[in-house]
């Protein structure tokens, strides 16, 4: 099953490699990983998406908790949560296709953030499957490149992951 693990980690050199190293050393898979400093400059927040049986996920969270750089973590699969991912897509355009791509982007609530005579860069956020659907809706030949942040997530309601 897919699990989203939210992690508060010391904002220190090498902390990220401890997490990545743990996954490779123990043979766990990382589907995606996003990390950036928080409003508290000593901490970074990481969102890690992984897959595994319940036993494997239990070991993953226990082994992560043993890392000295990890201050706190929660498995968001335990509670209801929201997820958002950012994607940038560069597509080639022509006089014939520009209008259709523009309309499609509007339907998916995308924003065109760069325009040249024969290309668009479209910014889009949403749940990962919505981004998948947008990519599928585009003419595959028109896609020049895509980049995705991987999901970021937090739990619903008033409780949060903090010190």
């Amino acid at each position: 099953m897919r699990h989203v693990i939210s992690i508060l980690i010391e904002n220190e050199a090498g902390a990220l490699s401890r997490v990545a190293g743990l996954f490779s050393a123990r043979g766990y898979n990382i589907e995606s990983l996003t990390v950036a400093p928080t409003e508290d400059a000593t901490l970074s927040r990481m969102t890690l998406v992984t897959r595994g049986s319940e036993d494997v996920i239990e070991q993953i969270t226990k082994q992560l908790n043993k890392l000295l750089d990890i201050v706190k973590l929660i498995d968001l699969a335990d509670a209801s949560h929201v997820e958002r991912e950012l994607m940038l897509v560069k597509v080639s355009t022509s006089d014939e296709t520009r209008g259709e791509i523009n309309r499609l982007s509007d339907i998916f609530r995308g924003k065109i953030i760069d325009v040249t005579t024969n290309s668009y860069v479209i910014e889009m956020t949403g749940a990962s499957d919505k981004l998948d659907a947008f990519v599928a809706a585009l003419d595959a030949d028109s896609i020049i490149e895509t980049v995705r942040s991987g999901p970021t997530a937090m739990s619903r309601g008033e409780n949060g992951l903090h010190l």
């Binding site: 401890r18 190293g21 050393a25 036993d55 239990e58 226990k62 000295l68 201050v71 010190l163």
Partner: protein, 578 residues
């Protein structure tokens, strides 16, 4: 007090109460070595190879409970230490390894003797640090010792670039008395609700087994383990790492379990309906085939590491906590409890165990005209009155030591259980002898293992650590040969050496006493002579039976109930290459 970085490291070690520093100098640690030169409090032990430093420090820790401390230079000094660091990590041994690093300005430039020590050791340390500011040394050292010695212990590396120890840069130093790490709070007491649940199950068991391991030794909980076992009159088995935590000569002890465990211990595990697992990690050498492990048992598991719980075997009642505190909690609940174990069920259970015991699964040919390795260990046990510290290398001799030296006290049995590091025994013996100069220390080894760290014979002479080396020389890598006999139709691929040194001459060349023993009747006199030479390191080269195997054996992929036993003493086995 204003000190340079190098002086701070040494002053810190003194303030921390470190007695011995095992190390080897080199370019990146020269400032540190100069600081060592100016003091007498922390005694430096110069090894002959950095691997030896780590094993000696590790064994010092195992024998005393105090952290072992190592100092190595950057690059090859650091990489040579890695095997010893991984050895300590697998057996949860508290150790602090200080490694030199190239100056901060050239880190990452592939400088002379540069390796990414923090990167290389990441998977085999509890934690590691790179010190980038001389003002951080004292606090980082404090963190390193705190992390290494608390919770589930383990090795911690502190990597210090050369410029950080510069003698010309002095900063104020004060020993940091307390340290707090916000992301680290080792468990202490067990959850009271879980303790009550566990005690209820414990008292209702019909066919109980207590299965205890290295955690009891590390947690200094032998007295509590012994008390609870006696109170209940339940059978107890120890893992390889747990030997000595419960007195092996006690009648409730059914021997070691696992791959080369006793018939009675493994069958008791298989038939049990309740297991109290204490400070163990259900290692594959213990469990055998997981699907067939203890099929009828309810399992209570006490461990300080939550990640050890249900890692390989699902347990019913986990208790996370310090083993000594948890056992004391259990003891007080038990003593208050009105219920007592069913005498009838227990006596039926003990009579089954006694039947298994009658198999006498460890028996070997005592009338052989060649020296049996078991006989050597048995006589070593008698000559030392069971009171020696025994280190070992890895292989058949290690299993014979575990089976035939009956450890009644914890911290007497010093071996590399988890990583299985050949070369561990001799440097380990030196570390133990430094910790306990008055005690008898013997290293049980084989002609293959001993050659992996043989250079430390020179260290043993320099620091006058008179240890006795019991070399069970069967001219084979015995355990490899045994597996090849069992699983590869006796194709002994590279498990013997065509050239083996004259160990007697070698020992003498290193300034020690060498004795060769070729006949069974000469074993005992040689041992007596060796231990009578109190102030000499003695290397006894026992020429043993080439074809002896370790029994019982659970072959890989089999369960506890499928042990291979020695069919009959003296059964001829393949002697083609003998």
């Amino acid at each position: 007090m204003e000190l340079s970085g190098g002086q701070i490291v040494v002053q810190y070690l003194k303030d921390e109460g470190v007695e011995y520093l095992f190390g080897y100098p080199g370019g990146a640690v020269l400032h540190l070595y100069d600081a060592i030169f100016h003091q007498q409090d922390v005694k430096h032990i110069l090894v002959r190879h950095e691997q030896g430093a780590t094993h000696a420090a590790d064994a010092y820790a195992r024998a005393t409970g105090k952290p072992g401390v190592v100092l190595v230079t950057s690059g090859p000094g650091a990489t040579n230490a890695v095997t010893g660091i991984a050895t300590a990590y697998m057996d949860s041994i508290p150790m602090v390894i200080i490694s030199g690093q190239v100056p901060t300005a050239v880190i990452g430039s592939d400088a002379f003797q540069e390796v990414d020590m923090v990167g290389i050791t990441r998977p085999c340390v509890k934690h590691n640090f790179l010190v980038k500011d001389v003002n951080d040394i004292a606090e980082t050292m404090k963190k390193a010792f705190y992390v290494a010695t608390t919770g589930r212990p383990g090795p911690v590396v502190v990597d210090i670039p050369k410029d950080i120890t510069d003698p010309n840069i002095k900063v104020p130093y004060k020993y940091p008395k307390k340290i707090k790490i916000r992301s680290y709070s080792p468990p202490t007491k067990g959850h009271p609700g879980q303790i009550i649940k566990a005690v209820d199950l414990l008292l209702n068991a019909q066919r109980p087994v207590i299965y205890s391991g290295g955690g009891v030794v590390l947690g200094n909980a032998s007295a509590e383990l012994t008390e609870i076992t006696h109170l209940l009159n339940y059978p107890i088995t120890n893992t390889l790492m747990g030997l000595g935590a419960y007195p092996a000569t006690d009648k409730q002890f059914v021997g070691m379990l696992g791959m080369h465990g006793t018939y009675e211990a493994n069958l008791a595990m298989h038939e049990s309906d309740f297991i109290l697992a204490i400070g163990v990690r259900f290692d594959d050498r213990v469990t055998g085939k997981l699907a067939e492990f203890c099929p009828h048992a309810t399992i209570v598991h006490i461990d300080i590491d939550p990640a050890s719980i249900s890692k390989t075997v699902k347990v019913d009642v986990p208790i996370v906590g310090d083993v000594k505190l948890v056992l004391n909690q259990m003891l007080s609940v038990l003593k208050e409890h009105k219920k007592r174990p069913s005498k009838k069920a227990l006596s039926a259970w003990w009579s089954r165990i006694e039947q298994w015991r009658e198999t006498n699964c460890l028996e070997f040919d005592r009338n052989s005209d060649v020296i049996k390795p078991q006989a050597v260990v048995e006589q070593l046990y008698q000559v030392t009155k069971g009171d020696a510290y025994i280190t070992s290398d890895v292989g058949q001799h290690q299993m014979f030591a575990a089976q035939f030296y009956h450890f009644d006290k914890p911290r007497r049995w010093i071996n590399s259980g988890g990583l299985g590091t050949m070369g561990f025994g001799l440097p380990a013996a030196i570390g133990v002898k430094l910790a306990h100069p008055e005690a008898d220390v013997a290293c049980i080894t084989g002609e293959a293992s001993i050659q992996m760290c043989i250079q430390e014979l020179s260290t043993a002479l320099q620091y006058k650590t008179p240890v006795k080396i019991i070399n069970l020389n069967n001219r084979y890598m015995g355990m490899v040969r045994q597996w090849q006999e069992f699983s590869y139709e006796s194709r002994y691929s590279h498990s013997y050496m065509d050239t083996i040194p004259d160990f007697v001459a070698l020992a003498e060349a290193y300034g020690h006493v060498g004795i060769r023993v070729e006949k069974p009747e000469d074993v005992r006199p040689a041992l007596e002579k060796a231990f009578a030479l109190k102030d000499r390191t003695v290397f006894i080269d026992f020429i043993t039976d080439r074809t002896e195997n370790v029994y019982p054996m659970i072959e890989s992929g089999k369960g506890h109930q499928e042990m291979t036993l020695r069919i009959a003493p003296g059964t001829p086995i393949d002697r083609e290459l003998a």
